[in-house]
């Protein structure tokens, strides 16, 4: 076993992403503790795909994710509320295009 897989914490936290089927994106489904990356994939398979939820799994150490600060919520997200013209809802979709 490589030194890298012997992590400093015995059971670090991982975030789990599942692709429900081919063509769809991986989606965050939850988190778990595991001894290393390989075992995190095992645990994700056992904990989150028991009812045929997916065809592919990603796991990533939670402390490797850079996250926005909740304190910045207003600064980051509020300005978009007044810019409804960014939503493509002002266009008439021709009948022939069908469901988009």
């Amino acid at each position: 076993m490589s030194e890298q897989s012997k992590t400093e914490e015995p059971m670090p936290l991982y975030e789990v992403f599942i692709r429900p089927k081919a063509g769809l994106s991986h989606k965050h489904v939850g988190s778990l503790h595991a001894i290393d990356d390989t075992m995190a994939l095992h645990m994700a398979r056992d904990v989150y795909t028991r009812r045929a939820e997916g065809v592919s799994i990603w796991v990533v150490r939670s402390n490797l994710i850079a996250a926005s600060d909740p304190v910045d919520k207003d600064m980051l997200f509020e300005p978009t509320a007044s810019k409804i013209y960014r939503h493509p809802t002002f266009y008439e979709v021709p009948e022939e295009v069908g469901h988009m």
């Binding site: 778990l32 390989t38 075992m39 645990m43 904990v47």
Partner: protein
């Protein structure tokens, strides 16, 4: 002995090993070291109990006496059970459970792969399903054996002790009696000798990574195929069968 008697016996042996190991694993439910492993072990247990049901169901049909899977699982005593001795061994600590699972899966994977080529189509179909499940058991238990063996001083000592205790049950995997020989000759059962090299290669690889030493075994323990068990099986069956025996035909 009817012409189908060896096949009936053979199906029961496969079923008994799967059920007893599945039941052992189910004993971990709500006790496993972590929530994640608790669910993982329950999944392994369910795989094995599912395999047992298929083998029992087929055995009951071959016998033709109207015994269903419940009758075969819950209404036979320990002397009638023909599972491998390895699978009835108590859970011990986590290292014992994972080592037991690893040894069984290391044999089951190549053995079931060979059984998929059986001339008996039902057995071949059950083996095809079971082989995929056991491949995951082998990977999961094998990865744990590596991490426990090549882990801390304590986990290494526990994994080595588990291997030392369980190694005496390995040779029984490869025993062939008259019942099995007749099915091997008929192309229905695989010859376990044909999967020994695959089994040994798996052990050498995983135990090597785990820095564990395979103990020398002078005389392997056997007898499970003849219904001669260690003292542990009776207790396991008592707990597993009590509900069905107290309330025959009980249903959810």
């Amino acid at each position: 002995m009817s012409a189908d008697a060896p096949l009936f016996t053979y199906c029961l042996r496969l079923a008994d090993s799967a059920l007893v190991l599945g039941h052992r694993l189910s004993e971990w439910t709500a006790y496993a070291p972590t929530l994640e492993e608790d669910i993982a072990i329950a999944n392994l247990a369910l795989d094995l109990i599912g395999q047992a049901r298929l083998f029992y169901d087929y055995a009951g049909k071959i016998e033709g006496q109207g015994r269903d899977e419940d009758a075969l699982a819950y209404l036979r005593d320990d002397r009638d059970y023909m599972n491998l001795l390895l699978v009835e061994q108590p859970n011990g600590d986590f290292a014992v459970t994972m080592m037991r699972q690893f040894l069984y899966a290391a044999f089951a994977v190549p053995y079931l792969a060979a059984l998929t080529r059986s001339k008996d189509e039902t057995l071949a179909a059950i083996a095809a399903k079971a082989e995929k499940e056991m491949a995951y058991h082998l990977r999961h238990a094998g990865e744990w054996v590596i991490r426990l063996g090549d882990g801390t001083e304590e986990s290494h000592a526990r994994a080595q002790a588990a291997l030392d205790d369980l190694a005496i049950y390995i040779d029984e995997f490869f025993e062939v009696d008259a019942v099995e020989q007749s099915l091997i000759d008929a192309g229905i059962a695989p010859d376990p000798a044909s999967v020994r090299s695959a089994f040994e290669a798996t052990l050498a690889h995983v135990l090597g990574e785990a820095t564990l030493a395979r103990p020398a075994v002078r005389t392997g323990q056997s007898g499970g195929r003849k219904g001669l068990h260690t003292e542990h099986l009776g207790h396991l069956l008592a707990e597993m069968q009590v509900l069905h025996r107290a309330h025959p035909g009980a249903n959810w």
